[in-house]
Assembly symmetry: C2
Homo-oligomer: 199 residues x 2
């Protein structure tokens, strides 16, 4: 049970984190179109006036929360492990997809009403600013090292891993295992780079 | 405007089609958990008693509608055009995804409450009975003709095209063009079969 005394003392990062968590829960519950400062404030046990000090409207709270809770993949520096780094990037995506931020994004993208309200800002201000899709950073790193020709990195190819993980999550509702992710890398991503391990 | 006299005269296939259309609209509007014979009947302008003559409950009406409106891809008989048949299979998928049946399936699969109620029956009685994913029939046909080894047809590989089309529909909300579908075939599916057109 939250204690009111400690709650009112929250400051700075702790308070912002509580508000971010609240808006991610609220959007899953009501959709973007029905987000309000009151609703977010109620979930965060914070007065609406506090929210208006930092954000101009509920959508700004949401975009700020998604931006801050978006993971950024990093290729292991100086390692030479394309396959392992791709598997790790997809694991990072699965962990994110099942987190409150990932569930909020899924709720937004699969609700036609929400998409119309926020989709462009979501792609411009969250996904693009945070480095695009999960495998893209890894793929560009290894292309720059000469592991495969850069012109292999088309929009289709940088989407393959994320697309297969998304379809699996939609179809089964259960997170893929490490073996499932390795199969995606070996059977779909690497062949598309011209690095077919079975060829 | 529908005319009541003609409406009450609907029989056989015409009436069933109207009820199928009604249940697909109703599930998008209210979700599987709130489907009722009354709601379906209201949309179809048909008394509930008529529905109970053929179906035991609203979920059965829904599964029957999805089964009958699910497209079945066929490789062009005696043609030797793997690439063209894959593009056509993905086009069939896009057309279906944007149809009332496809929109109903998307609404079911992206709503955690609906998924729990019907997902297993959807996969067993609609998708599997209707031949699995859209590219699968084409891929198995050409594998049997010796175009590539059958053991290339893993669950990951038969999902690549559908996964990329699904991600694109979720991300952009707009249907892929024929060039987009050709890029998916050339840059992702064919390489995974060991038939990389760029190798």
């Amino acid at each position: 049970m939250a204690d009111h005394t400690s709650r009112t003392r929250r400051r700075g990062e702790e308070l912002i984190k509580a508000i971010h968590d609240a808006v991610l829960e609220e959007v899953v519950a009501v959709g973007v179109g029905r987000l309000t400062m009151d609703g977010i404030g109620r979930r965060a046990a914070t007065p609406r006036t506090t929210l208006y000090r930092r954000w101009s409207d509920p959508t700004e709270v949401l975009l700020d929360a998604l931006y801050h809770q978006h993971p950024v993949e990093e290729p292991t520096p100086s390692a030479d492990d394309l396959r392992g780094d791709l598997i790790r990037a997809l694991r990072l995506m699965v962990d994110w997809a099942l987190s409150p931020a990932g569930r909020a994004v899924a709720a937004i993208l699969t609700d036609p009403k929400s998409v119309a309200l926020i989709s462009e800002a979501l792609f411009d201000r969250v996904f693009a600013d945070r480095g695009g899709t999960f495998t893209a950073t890894v793929l560009h790193h290894y292309a720059a090292q000469g592991h495969f020709p850069t012109d292999r990195l088309t929009p289709v190819v940088t989407d393959i891993g994320e697309a297969l993980v998304t379809k699996r999550l939609i179809d089964t509702g259960t997170p893929p295992t490490d073996e499932d992710l390795a199969a995606i890398v070996d059977q779909a991503i690497l062949p598309a780079l011209g690095l077919d391990p079975r060829a």
